[in-house]
């Protein structure tokens, strides 16, 4: 390999920066970001919270689902600057600090509701928020599938995710086995 001149380390985008301050997983963060920086990219690359995934960047697949001001939302359809002053929760906030799985995560594990794991954080956030809004949801097949209908999975065929939804409710009620 011939030795080439290494490009300047300071090459950078020319975008202007806007200051944003927000709460992420209970922590205050303040950063200077380009106005066009997507919230998904902000979380993943500015904050290093790479559990939120990106599958389409046009709001269909749900891999990027986070909780914004208490409501699940697609982080690819928001700019970081819109989140100034907001309270964001990502997948990294769901398990206990020692790694103990949240009931929804535990349910996914028990029911084999994940295969490649790429869509999983999005589903977990969606279900966590859904159950926060309604802890005693309709558990019929149709109602559960409708609740899950904003998130795509290409691996599981959804059958086990439906089961995990039911199991989540059981675990959160403390019904155990």
């Amino acid at each position: 390999m011939s030795r080439r001149i290494r490009p300047s380390d300071t090459v950078a985008s020319a975008d202007p920066k806007v200051r944003v301050s927000l709460t992420v997983n209970g922590e205050q963060v303040t950063r200077d970001v380009s106005p066009r920086l997507l919230l998904s990219d902000f979380l993943r690359h500015e904050l290093g919270l790479t559990g939120t995934h990106v599958g389409c960047e046009h709001g269909v697949c749900g891999c990027c689902t986070v909780i914004i001001d208490g409501r699940a939302g697609r982080s690819c359809l928001a700019f970081a600057v819109q989140a100034d002053g907001a309270d964001i929760r990502t997948i990294e906030s769901v398990a206990k600090p020692d790694g103990t799985l949240h009931p929804v995560q535990q349910a996914f594990r028990e029911c084999h509701a994940l295969q490649c794991g790429y869509c999983t954080p999005g589903f977990v956030m969606a279900i966590v928020n859904y159950l926060e809004e309604d802890p005693t949801p309709d558990l019929s097949e149709d109602a559960i599938r409708e609740a899950l209908s904003g998130n795509l999975c290409r691996c599981t065929g959804y059958k086990n995710i439906v089961a995990a939804f039911r199991r989540s409710v059981e675990l959160m009620r403390g019904a155990g086995g």
Partner: protein, 287 residues
């Protein structure tokens, strides 16, 4: 798919927002972003400035006042969907909103944003046209109220001018005893409708329809009142035939053959949807 650069402002007052929008032809209001941001990420649109409306208090709130439900334009779909007072005043709203995308999108998308976006296949414009609602817009020239039938021009185009912000949506309440229904056919749950019909039916003491209001989405460049179908229902009873109304509805299909549906299919769909929604509406007429 990253958007092109834009300026971003988040004014705290409506007047400030109007000034920003009026002063820059390339400026666009940013509401929930669920329709706008995909177009930016695809670089189908590249506004020079986004005027974020989220801090403007005047655009919030749901109030039932007399025979109208006043919905602030920045009300999230999900807020209106879950609002009990609004639901009691007009249960058609919750039915229609349940067909708008998915909960996660309804958490962020706004009533005003969806109406201003005015997709020809969208459900909310159909609701507004069916119920005879209106929108309030404020711009550099002041405030005006625009009836639904005057607001939607064609696909993705409304009466709003540059610098105008949709501030409030006014949805009529349903008179007691009004039957209502919404039904659409979409490829997947939550997708835009191939065709959808909103039906409202009022019935007289003898059981015959006195007033019907029907609107369809997905069959024309904008949500459309099916006026001839409505007329054909006057005097019809719940156990009567809706066939003439259904056939009359077919004439309102102006969408040409496209990848999702042929014109003939849309015609058949709208006819069937009229029959089924009218039947359901009749069944919901309170005794």
């Amino acid at each position: 798919m990253k958007p092109a650069l834009f300026q971003y402002v988040a004014p705290e007052s409506l007047d400030a927002a109007i000034t920003e929008l009026a002063g820059d032809e390339g400026a666009r209001p940013l509401a929930g972003g669920q329709s706008l941001i995909p177009t930016l990420n695809f670089r189908l649109a590249a506004p020079s400035k986004l005027v974020d409306l989220r801090k403007i208090e005047a655009l919030r709130g749901i109030r039932v006042e007399g025979n109208v439900i006043r919905v602030g334009a920045m009300t999230r779909h999900r807020e209106l969907e879950l609002d009990e007072a609004a639901h009691r005043a007009n249960p058609l709203i919750r039915d229609v909103l349940g067909n708008v995308a998915h909960i996660i999108v309804r958490n962020r998308g706004t009533i005003g944003g969806s109406l201003a976006h005015a997709d020809a296949s969208a459900e909310l414009p159909c609701l507004l046209v069916a119920t005879g609602g209106s929108v309030v817009a404020r711009g550099p020239k002041g405030e005006r109220t625009i009836a639904a039938e005057d607001f939607f021009h064609f696909h993705l185009t409304t009466a709003l001018e540059q610098g105008e912000v949709l501030t409030e949506v006014r949805i009529p309440t349903l008179a007691p005893g009004t039957g209502y229904a919404f039904l659409e056919v979409a490829r997947r749950h939550g997708d835009y409708a191939l065709a959808g019909v909103c039906a409202l039916v009022m019935v007289g003491s003898g059981g015959a329809c006195t007033v019907a209001r029907l609107a369809a989405c997905g069959i024309a460049p904008k949500a459309t009142r099916l006026i001839d179908a409505e007329k054909a229902l006057v005097g019809v009873r719940a156990d009567g035939s809706f066939e003439i109304a259904a056939q009359a509805a077919r004439r309102y299909v102006t969408t040409g053959d496209d990848r999702n549906a042929s014109t003939a299919f849309r015609q058949d769909l709208v006819a069937t949807l009229v029959k089924r929604t009218v039947a359901t509406a009749f069944s919901r007429v309170a005794r």
